[in-house]
Each structure stands twice: as structure tokens, then as C-alpha cells.
């Protein structure tokens, strides 16, 4: 029922109904903001990204195909905008942005030693590669299933599943190093 309402709203918004678009913003502002917040760990950046996501959605509404689910569409814009933000800010990063990149999980323990001063889950998330961070956020914070994640990320479900498993293993290693699981 919720999905049908959402699809109907998306179609109305596409036809220029501003009330429908406003309603969609109301429905998604929290999750899009949290997606951006977990991806950046910065509230100001997250707010800017969330606003950009909705403005882009507004601009692209005419190209939205109502045969597809609206949430996948807006999440996809959200993930892309987070990646764009990362690419823009990457130039200013002093730390190695490829820390724990895909395929480097074997070195996770060694690299986790650099994180001893950090204590929060958010810090652990930020030290995952963006690919692993994304699947963790989509699955555990936005509560999407693997099929939905595959649709949003435009990846085979098998790849999403594998990436998610590795990401969790890395998180377990990082949190274990910090003793968080014992607290």
C-alpha cells in the first residue's frame, strides 16, 4: 500500500504536482540525510548532499520511469551524490583514501591499528572503502534487502552479497580492535 502510494506520488510529481513532490521529500528526507551522514560522517556535508539529492530528483523527474520503483531511483541518486561528494573532497584528503579498499581485506588488522584513537562505529564505517561502506549503510541503516541493494547499485545480487559479507568481516575486525563488542 505504501509502495503504491509512493509510486502514485512519483507519477503526480512527474506531471508537475508540487504537493506530491513535497510529500516525497517528507517521506525521504530522513533516510537520504542519514545515507549522506553515514557516508560522510559530517552533518553539514550530509545536509548539503541531501538537499542536492532532492534538487537533482526534482530536475530529473521528467526522466523518471514509473515502471521502476521510486525508492530505488532516489536512493540511486543519493548514493551517486555521496560518491560525487567524496570525489570532490578527495583532493583535500590527507589520509590514504584507499584505506581498506576492496581486495585489501587481508591487511585489515594491520590497518586497523591506525584507528586505535577512534571509538565510534561511524569511525569504523569511515575507514571502510566506499564500496563496503555503502552496502553496510544500505543494509543496516536503511534496511534494504540484497535484491533492492543490487537494483540501486546496479550490481549483480551475488556481488552485493559478497561485498556485504566482506564489509561485515572488516567491521568485526575494526570493532574488535576497539573492544566495542565487549562493552
Amino acid at each position: 500500500m505504501v509502495e503504491l502510494d509512493e509510486q502514485a506520488l512519483a507519477e503526480q510529481a512527474k506531471r508537475g504536482d508540487d504537493r506530491a513532490f513535497t510529500r516525497l521529500v517528507e517521506m525521504y528526507e530522513r533516510v537520504i540525510y542519514n545515507l549522506a551522514l553515514r557516508m560522510t560522517n559530517d552533518r553539514e556535508d550530509a545536509r548539503d548532499i541531501a538537499q542536492t539529492v532532492f534538487v537533482k530528483a526534482f530536475q530529473k523527474l521528467r526522466s523518471f520511469d514509473p515502471r521502476y520503483r521510486f525508492f530505488s531511483w532516489i536512493y540511486r541518486i543519493g548514493v551517486n551524490e555521496c560518491l560525487n561528494h567524496r570525489a570532490r573532497s578527495r583532493r583535500h584528503e590527507e589520509l590514504d583514501p584507499d584505506l581498506m579498499s576492496e581486495g585489501d581485506e587481508g591487511d585489515a588488522d594491520e590497518r586497523a591499528c591506525t584507528l586505535l584513537r577512534s571509538e565510534a562505529i561511524e569511525d569504523s564505517l569511515m575507514n571502510l572503502s566506499v564500496d563496503y561502506r555503502t552496502v553496510i549503510i544500505l543494509r543496516h541503516f536503511l534496511e534494504l534487502n540484497q535484491a533492492e541493494m543490487a537494483q540501486i547499485l546496479e550490481l549483480p545480487e551475488k556481488t552485493v552479497k559478497s561485498r556485504l559479507h566482506t564489509a561485515r568481516q572488516l567491521m568485526a575486525g575494526l570493532l574488535g580492535r576497539r573492544g566495542i563488542h565487549q562493552s
Partner: protein, 267 residues
């Protein structure tokens, strides 16, 4: 159980996706291996920590910022609908009986001149600000001014004159604000409305007369830099109605008025 199968089944178990047979295999493996138990507990802890982290509330004002930004986007994106203007212009002339005969001769000359002016931009000079649903710059009054007038008020302050009226539409109200007077520069107009009763839908500022504006869930304000006519379309969100409050402010001085948004209201 090999390493790959253990990781897959352990994750599926915690995801609630493992089959009964897989759960049983995992249970037996955990009973036999202390290392596997430790690893599984660490993974379970990750699930618990992540799933209980929760979501933060969106920051206050995010929605309003989005609305504001989309208004600005629309301002940049929406081309002036010059065809509508021409249609309205000609339609208005054709509704005057005495002019119909003259139109045969004059239309060629007049439309030609108008077309040149429009194409060169000399006639369409105003900035057009809108939220979706409205098109046209310098167009003759259309549907937004055709509604039944509910209320009208005039505010005057330091040589600035603001005439505002509310008009009934099929599904809401239009607030029309006309400003005149040479002293309008820097003055600010604020219209506040009941958030539960009315939803702002479109804003039309015509011609270029407002340098700054902001439209929120329960108010609109803009600064004036000259004479102009501005229309804010509001949709009824409920059967409830409440007056719309208008304020004209210049520096420390301000004058206010309330306008009905429904015939049943008392002011």
C-alpha cells in the same frame, strides 16, 4: 565446513536468510569449533551494533531548503512561455467586439511587431519566478486573478503602497500583492499562513521587482526593489481555514493586515 561456506551461512543466519538445513549445519559447526563461535559472536555483535545505531532526524529546515532550492531551480529552468502570452494577448483583443473588424488589418501589423519585440526580448523584460504550474511573463491576467475576491487590504508605509487581495480558486486561494511607490526599495513583505490549512504551490513574481525571497511551509517573504505584482498560489490542505497575515516592513516600522482565505471567516 570450509571457510567460504562458514562466512556465507553465518551471514545468512544473521540476516534471517539461512535455510533450516543450513542453520543446523552452522549450529553443529559452532558446537565443534571455538574459533568459529568467537567469530560468529563478533559478527553477531556487528549486526547488533549496526542495527541499533538507528537513524537521526533530518535537520530542521532541510525540507524548506529543498523547496526554496527547487523554486530557484525552476526560476533558472523554466523558459518564458511566449506562446501563451501571444494567445492571451490575441484572445483578449478578440473578445472586444468593436476590435474584431480592425483585427483583420491590425493583427498582421500588431502581431508582427509584437513577435519582433518578443523575439528580441525588448517586450519580455521581467524576471519570472515560479514554482511549477505557472507560465508567462507580462501576460494579461489569467486564471490566478479570475477567482472570486475574498478580501482586499491596502498597506501604506513611507511612500510604499501595497494592495493585497485573496481570491478563491477551485482548490485553494491566491494571494495577489501589488506594490507601487518610489520608496519601495529595501522594504520587506511577509505573508504568513496557517500551515495546517494551506500549502504554498506556486509563486509568480512579475516583473523583476524582488531581489530576495524565501518561501517556507507557513510563510513567504520577499524584499522589494520597485513596483510589481506578485501572486502566491496556496492549496487547501484541510477543511479548516484561517486568515492570512500580511506585514509590510521598512526598517523598524511595520504595518500589518489580515486577509480572509474563506468566505466563512471573520477577520
Amino acid at each position: 565446513m570450509n571457510r567460504k561456506d562458514f562466512e556465507r551461512i553465518a551471514n545468512d543466519e544473521l540476516d534471517g536468510a539461512a535455510s533450516p538445513a543450513e542453520s543446523e549445519v552452522l549450529r553443529r559447526h559452532l558446537a565443534e569449533s571455538a574459533d568459529a563461535r568467537e567469530e560468529f559472536e563478533a559478527l553477531r555483535e556487528v549486526f547488533l551494533k549496526l542495527d541499533n545505531a538507528g537513524l537521526e532526524e533530518a535537520p530542521p529546515g532541510l525540507r524548506q531548503s529543498v523547496l526554496h532550492a527547487t523554486v530557484a531551480q525552476r526560476r533558472e529552468m523554466t523558459p518564458v512561455n511566449r506562446n501563451d502570452w501571444v494567445k492571451a494577448f490575441l484572445g483578449g483583443l478578440l473578445q472586444v467586439p468593436n476590435l474584431r473588424g480592425a483585427m483583420t488589418f491590425a493583427s498582421g501589423l500588431g502581431v508582427g511587431a509584437a513577435a519582433i519585440a518578443i523575439v528580441t526580448g525588448s517586450l519580455v523584460g521581467g524576471r519570472h519566478v515560479e514554482i511549477p504550474g505557472m507560465t508567462g511573463t507580462m501576460a494579461p491576467p489569467r486564471s490566478e486573478s479570475a477567482g472570486r475576491i475574498l478580501d482586499s487590504r491596502t498597506l501604506e508605509l513611507n511612500g510604499i503602497k501595497v494592495t493585497a487581495d485573496t481570491r478563491r480558486t477551485a482548490d485553494g486561494v491566491i494571494l495577489r500583492i501589488e506594490t507601487t511607490g518610489t520608496g519601495a526599495g529595501g522594504a520587506k513583505i511577509t505573508a504568513a499562513f496557517d500551515r495546517g490549512a494551506l500549502l504554498p504551490v506556486t509563486l509568480r513574481m512579475d516583473p523583476r521587482s524582488a531581489d530576495e525571497f524565501e518561501i517556507g511551509e507557513s510563510s513567504l517573504w520577499f524584499t522589494l526593489s520597485g513596483a510589481g505584482v506578485h501572486t502566491l498560489t496556496l492549496r487547501n490542505e484541510s477543511a479548516h481555514s484561517a486568515p492570512l497575515d500580511l506585514e509590510l516592513r521598512a526598517g523598524e516600522e511595520a504595518v500589518r493586515a489580515s486577509l480572509r482565505t474563506d468566505f466563512s471567516e471573520s477577520r
